[in-house]
Every structure is written in C-alpha cells, then in structure tokens.
Symmetry: C2
Subunit: 356 residues, 2 copies
Amino acid sequence: MIANAYRTQVPQTLTSTLVPQMLAEYGALTRAAMKHYLSAGEPRRYLYDLLADYPERGGKMMRPSLCIATARAFGAPVEAALSTAVAIEILHNALLIHDDIQDESEQRRGRPTLHVLHGIPLAINAGDTMTLMSLHPLMDNRSIIGEALAARVLEETERTALQSAEGQAIEIGWRRDNLFDFDDTDYLELVLKKTCWLATIHPGRVGALIAAQDTVDLEPFVRFGFFLGAAFQIQDDLLNLIGDEETYGKELDGDIFEGKRTLMLIRLFRESNSAERAQIRDLFALPRNRRTLEQVRHVRALMDKYDCINYARAIAHGLVGAAQHEYSLLYDGLPASRDKDFIRGLVTWVIERTST
Amino acid sequence: MIANAYRTQVPQTLTSTLVPQMLAEYGALTRAAMKHYLSAGEPRRYLYDLLADYPERGGKMMRPSLCIATARAFGAPVEAALSTAVAIEILHNALLIHDDIQDESEQRRGRPTLHVLHGIPLAINAGDTMTLMSLHPLMDNRSIIGEALAARVLEETERTALQSAEGQAIEIGWRRDNLFDFDDTDYLELVLKKTCWLATIHPGRVGALIAAQDTVDLEPFVRFGFFLGAAFQIQDDLLNLIGDEETYGKELDGDIFEGKRTLMLIRLFRESNSAERAQIRDLFALPRNRRTLEQVRHVRALMDKYDCINYARAIAHGLVGAAQHEYSLLYDGLPASRDKDFIRGLVTWVIERTST
C-alpha cells in the first residue's frame, strides 16, 4: 500500500465536495454557451446532429472549469474567460472524435463512438468541423477582452493544438510500428504533448493571461499543468484497467485491446522476461479485431504479476506532490477564493476520481 | 458537337500561355512561402514528413494564384496577399488528405495517397495539423495588413471552411445512404459548398478585400466564383472519365469506383431504365473493394449510352459563359493588367485544361 503523503495537505472536502460542485457549475455555464456555437444548421443528419452528440453525452468539464477558475483566481470575471473556455471544450470534443477513429474505440461516454454510429468519413468531417467551430468563440473574444488579448489567446491555442497533434502523432506512430521499448521519461514526454497541453497547461495559461494580461509569468503554468495533467492521464489509464464498468463509460481493458502505450504496458514490457515480451509483441502485431479477450486477459494478468498498477499509482502520487508544490508557488500569494480552493482540490481529485 | 460560344470572347493566348505562366509564377511564390510554415520539427517521420508530402507533389496552385491575382487586379501588392494565399493552399492540402481517406482514394498527384502510405490514423492527424497550420499565416497577417483586415480575412476563412465542411458532409451522406435521385440543382448546390467556396469564391473575396478593404462589394464574387468553380469541378470529374492516364495523376474511372455523385452519374440515373437503375443501385450498395472493374466499365458504357459526357460538358460551357458575364461586371472597370487578363483566361482554362 502506498502512503498517501499528498493527502495530508488538502482537506478532504475540497476534493470530494467543492471540486464536483464547481465542475458542475462552470460546466453548466460552458455547456450553455457551447450550444450557441454548435447550433444546428443544414445538413443536420450528416453534420450538425453529429456535432451536438459528444457534448450532449456529458463529460467532466475539467478543462473549461480550470480555465474559468484560473481567470477568476487571478481576478477576472467569468465573462472574460467564458468564450475561451468554450473554445477549449469544443476543441477537446473535436479531438475525441478523431481519437476514437484513430484508436478504433467502440465506446465513448457510455455510448457507441461517433464513427461506429455514422461511419468513418462522416465522423472525420464532424471532427474537422468541430475544430473549425472552436475558432468562433476565439474570434468573438475580440469584443470581450480586446483585440490584443484575443490575439494572444488565439496564438496560445494554436501552439497548444500543435502540441496535441505532435503528441498524437508520436502515440499513433509507436503503436503503428509496434514499439514498446520506452522508459518512463519517454512516456511522460508523450503525455506532456498529447494530454497536458490542452487539458491542464493551456487552461491555466490562458486563464491567467486573460486576468493578468502580461503581468504574470506563464512559464510556471507549464510545470504545474504538466504534473497535474500527467497524474490525470495515468489515473485515466488506471481506471481503464480497474474502474467500475457501470460508471466508467468505455470498455474496460479497452486500452489493452487498442495497444495503447500506457505507463503500465511500458513497465510490463520492461520488467517481463523474453518469452513474455515476445508474446506481447506478437499480440500487438495483430490487427485489433484479431486480438482475443483471452490474450487481453493474459496481458492484464502479467500487469499484476509485475505490479504495474501499484507502480503507476505511485508515480501518479509523486506527480500530484509535485503539482501541489507548483500550486503553492503560483497560488499562495493570491487572495483566498473558491476558485483557488477548487484548483487546490483538483490536484488531488485527478487521481482520486473513480470515473473518467 | 457543342458550339464553343464562350470561345469567341477570349483570345486563345490568354488561356494557353498566360494562365499556365502565371500559375507557375504565383505558384512558385506561394510554395516558397509555404515551406516556411510547414518547416520540419519533431516527430518528423510520424508528422512533419507527412505534411510536406502533398505540397511537394505539385498541384495546380489555382487557388492561391487567384487570390494574389485578384488582390493585384484591385491594386494591392503581392506581399499583401501572399500569406492569405499560403493559408488557402495549406487548407486545401489539409482537406485533400481527409478527402482521400473519406473517398478511399488510392492515388493523388501521381503517387499513393497519404493514408495508403502511412495508415489512416497518422493521415487523419496530418490533415488536422495542416488545418491548424493554415491559421499561422492568417495570424501573421496582423503585422502585414493590420489587425482589422486580418480579422476580416480570418472570418472569411472560417466561413469558407464551414461551407466546405457542409458540402463534404452532404456528399459523403449521399454516398453512405446510396442516394442517387437528384436533379442538377441539387448537384450544383453541393458543388457550391464543397468546391466553389474554397476554390474560387474565397480567393476572389479575400483578394478584393485585402486590396480594396470595405470599398468593394464582395457579393458578386460569390456568383463569379460559383460559375467558375462549378465549371472547374465538372471538368475535374470529366477528366476522371476521359483524361489521359499519363498526365492525370489519379486512377481513371476512380470516381465511379468511389461512387462519387458527379453530374454524369446523376444524369445517368435520371435517364436510365428501371433495370439499369437497379443495377446501379446494387453496384454502389457494395463496399468499394467489392466493386469489379467489369461493373465499373458497365456504368461507364451506360454513361455513353445516355450521352452523359456531352451533357455535362454543355453545362460546364454554360457555366463558363455565365462566369464570363460576371467577370465583366467585376473587372471591366479596373485598369488593364496581367492579373486581370489572367483571371479572364482562367475562366476558359478551367474547362480547357487536360490535367487536374
């Protein structure tokens, strides 16, 4: 059992009560504003109905909430950050649509993925359109926060989306070429690009930028967001293995089926013997639909044999500790606020949550 | 034989000499500037090499050339339009990558398509990244043509890309649901969205906008670009049936294999008898890889039986005549220039060219 050292620093109520409360609150605000941007036109059945689908299925709303909370903690009103938060959530949904095609995922938020429902060509097009739609609130920013700041937010968004695309390319490439031989640093560099920039770095940076303009150094948000986002991703991948089927919303062990290079799989490959390694390589050299449930269960059992789950959990805890340190540097000097508390609680929430 | 009425209005040298010359000239300028935006980073083999591929294969460069020529004809220097032209060409290449996946195309500009070379997941991601990259020159516009005009160009681009996405959705939807029962108006509405906005309407609108700011009415560019772009698309589809294999760069009859709803196929379905209709429906209900060459040749023969090629050619000629009329309204009052002549020649070039 791992000692939860990080736990001593944060009152339990922040994580278990305030965080879900504020995710619901800022999530609802964002959702209402999103509706305006994703409003239905024609062709409805081939395009606009598809755009509305993933957002209507729910989602944690962590990304837009972190953006709004950061802006407020640094002194801006909600209205100043809302359209930027909307853009982040729309872009996130756009990437999910393409992710699901690329990973051949079958379930998303408890229902069949968009390409399973409508075919790959229409789903690609829906993802493209969502990306495009994320530009709209950023252009509207001009009349809300002014030309100069709106342009800075747009630049930050473009930079972030490019990081996501580079991370996505690396992850797909590793899988396509059936590569496994990575150390934890390779994994963390991947996650920095693929996950952290859009999920946790960018919402913090643009939130602070909107509130404090150029008076605050945005560099520390990269470190804070990296530790927070990496812990978040590891927990996401853990839930895929040990989550509760009811609340999870995707196929359990789906990541193994997809050959996703998680911290657990990378450790397994590093620790296993040469016969096991050969088995693993052979399994993932097969197309996804030729991998059997039995093979997947075997990999899952090997992960237990080599203690991969506890190992990954310990790393996630370490990352949360580092995120707490960065949190102090960024936020301790600011006036007390619910938003500050929310962000503080979020740091432990990312690894204590039991659903994705 | 159709009388080439449109021909009497335009000196042959414009079409056969000046147009290729200026496409080469403005194309080279655009290509050089594009290199800067698509410069290689990491991961090279999973992302940046893929981005460079389609642009390096060539392409007509009609879209950026029309943008630059329009701007110059209305009095702007090349430099004012160049980054906008680059954005148009990058966006066009981005859409080609996704188009090829959606249509299951095998060849592009004489080589295998990107997803054939690298797999669908990496090709989707490359297309996403290219779309993102098209934003960059538009943001650089701020220091070239000023904040306000740069914002207008960005708005125009977003509007255009949305039209393309709606058109793409309709075309894919028709094919997915195996629908055929359209009249020429349905086809032309599809092409307006799918092709004309990005290929011919937008380059004209933003070219004029950059040169004349808000002193010129952009509405007539929609009509001009519609007639021009629809004629262009019909010729593209005709070349797929009657082009020269050497210079064509894609599979001949590939559109029939893909079940593309061209003006010729729509006419064929409308004119054919009920037994033939059933054959056509059944053929296109099969997945692409189960359609045989023999079946495709049969459809091709039916197109000759019902004179579909001459029919489509006549409509393209009519559209060129209409485009010439709109050209006069837009350009006759402007001072004489090579750029004006280029655009005039382009109107006939779109249907006289023998390669895509």
